[in-house]
């Protein structure tokens, strides 16, 4: 069955509301990686992220009727739940440190910058961003949501606000990965003509 014949999220939600476990299982498989990526990014610990993914889908399953009443798109709705779950866990475990997914020993050494240095600099740059900017970068650039959807997931009232946060995040992070400046390229002749 090609993509055109696959049931939409709304169809699956309607079936899942009628206690169709298979329908919910399909929804889970569609969006499990989104939830995993968000939880992994926010919690930075794979045990915590696993618990968060589980709690996200349990909460979502319980709230399916509310989703139907909202008549909204499923993916942003689910990830808004996931974000709430992650923040609940962060708040709960705020005194318990969490192991980093990318365990980077922070040590200085001289010499030419390497990929390792770049990763360290990037991690520091990412961690130094305000939370809202980090989240905007995650949801739009890492996960590929449009800014309107991202605003809904992140509970930002206006997409323009989110775009401002996103721009600041990009301005902080992009230069770390940008190529060194190149000499200006000559314009193609046809353009000069």
């Amino acid at each position: 069955m090609g993509p055109a014949n696959e049931p939409t999220d709304e169809m699956l939600v309607a079936r899942a509301c009628g206690d169709d476990a298979e329908a919910f299982s399909l929804l889970y498989r569609r969006y499990r990686l989104d939830a995993w990526n968000m939880a992994g990014f926010l919690l930075r610990n794979h045990h915590e992220a696993e618990d968060a993914v589980q709690e996200t889908f349990v909460r979502a399953h319980r709230a399916l009727q509310q989703y139907q009443r909202r008549n909204n798109t499923f993916r942003p709705w689910l990830l808004a739940i996931c974000r709430n779950v992650c923040f609940d866990r962060i708040r709960l475990s705020k005194r318990r440190p969490i192991l980093s997914l990318s365990d980077l020993p922070v040590e200085e050494h001289s010499g030419k910058p390497t990929d390792h240095d770049l990763r360290i600099d990037f991690r520091r740059a990412l961690d130094s961003l305000p939370l809202k900017e980090r989240e905007a970068f995650l949801v739009v650039d890492v996960m590929g949501f449009r800014s309107e959807e991202a605003a809904e997931i992140l509970g930002v009232s206006a997409a323009s606000t989110l775009r401002s946060q996103l721009a600041r995040a990009r301005q902080s992070l992009a230069p770390l990965f940008a190529d060194p400046p190149q000499p200006a390229r000559p314009r193609p002749k046809e353009r000069l003509a």
Binding site: W36, E50, R95, P97, P105, P130, P175, D179
Partner: protein, 539 residues
Amino acid sequence: MTPLRCQDCWPLVLDRHRSQAIEHHLATCSVCAQMIAGTERAAAAVRDSIPAPEPGLDARVLAAVEQDAKARRRRRLSVPHLRASRPRRQLAALALASFALALAITAGALPGGRSEPAEASAVPIDPLTAACGSDSGRLVVAGTWSGSEGKSFARVLGRFERRSGIRVSYAYETHDIAAKLGTRIDRGCPPDVALLPQPGLVDELAREGQIQPLDRATRTLVAHNYSSGWRQLTEFRSKAYGVWFKAADKSTVWYRTDAFRRAGIAHPPRTWAGLLDDVSALHRTGLEPLAVGGADGWTLTDWFENVYLGEAGAARYQLLAQHRIPWTDPSVVAALRRLAGLLGTPALTGGSAESLRTSFEGSVNRVFGPRANAAIVFEGDFVRSFLPASSAAREAGMFPFPARRSTGRAPVVVGGDVAVAFDREARSRQLMRFLATPAAAEPWARHGGFVSPNRDFDRTAYPDPLTRQVADALIGARTVRFDLSDQQPPAFGAIAHQGMWSILQHFLANPNEVGATARRLESAASAAWACERANHGRC
């Protein structure tokens, strides 16, 4: 065609807009090309840093969803049977039976002298709902542990179930157990017993008359099994309300025993002055004495709390925790000054810039990792779980946070979970009594990640010597105070990039700004507490 400016062009491209004007601008603009490529690579770097989920995750999640759905269906189908409507005669019979069982439980044997079955009966684990639902007939126990911790606690309850014959269910609330309990109390259906992560809640619930004082038998057990410091944390108007079950020691300092030997330090320091002497001796060996995980602001709050408790004493610590004295109090200024004397000395820490770049995990790695270059890291007992598999980690030792003065033992900053009973049912009292016994701690302690504050607990049950040492420090403490930042409104005490975390990071970078730091702390604390009071804890 209106020409585009760079600041308009590259964001549009990244937002997947394309037009002729954009294409025209892109063809000639290296700035936009750099921003687009840089952003895409940064996003790819984040994606690469998140590993794939474990293969078993799908089955686990779908099973949890199914189990939750089944539990909800059961609740919908079962006959409503509110606990309040249970006939008094039935309660009396239950009380008699429970009383007869109590001795057997505390003695660690089943009625009739049978030994405990090896296989655990499954204690149901469900989220704690705001709605009352129907009465399953089980004793409902609420707590904050989910996931593997929830399962460990269910093992504890399973042992109680097997020994007492009382059926128990466990309901967890990971977000805001105080709010959920408040709702359940308002609706007349609190759980029978709850394990609370904050002693402040015990005071509040006791003041409102929502929880019951311990009965005489449990009081006797608690008096025997817990030090006075722990007992005082759950007393309200001279009555004992709680049984501490799980504890965390936030006053442990971890060090390399080989580094201490090389520096000629025979014993770990017991006083602040001794610590200063020892870090100087370590510095002379060429090692950086201290690794500070200042990139995680909470490590700095823990530093402050321990210094402040030693400096100001337990009574003043509690006043500050409740914001009944301002953060500009001279005692706070003195503690900040003391902290600056240690953490603000670059030779001892590698400098504030290095400390602010180092995460908690990084600080443990700097002492115990494969390329260790420091000798001491301060943090709670959970450091034990973060020791890497390295030769340096095999040299790990632990000593209690040094006392301010040479006389007496240092007070200890702790965290933990305390059990309280909402009703006077005999079976709730029985569970409380069980939780006060060493037998309750054993199933979790054996699996690791658990320390019992019960001084009667057999320390050989802990899986390793360091956990045993942590447990000894905890139960030996005369004065214990609960983690101060955990008693603050989250906006002030618990969130990165703001409040205490951020202000203390700024202080680490600018250790001369003692007075200004105190004023910043007071300003942020005042705002957070005002919001908390105005919004009933919903800030």
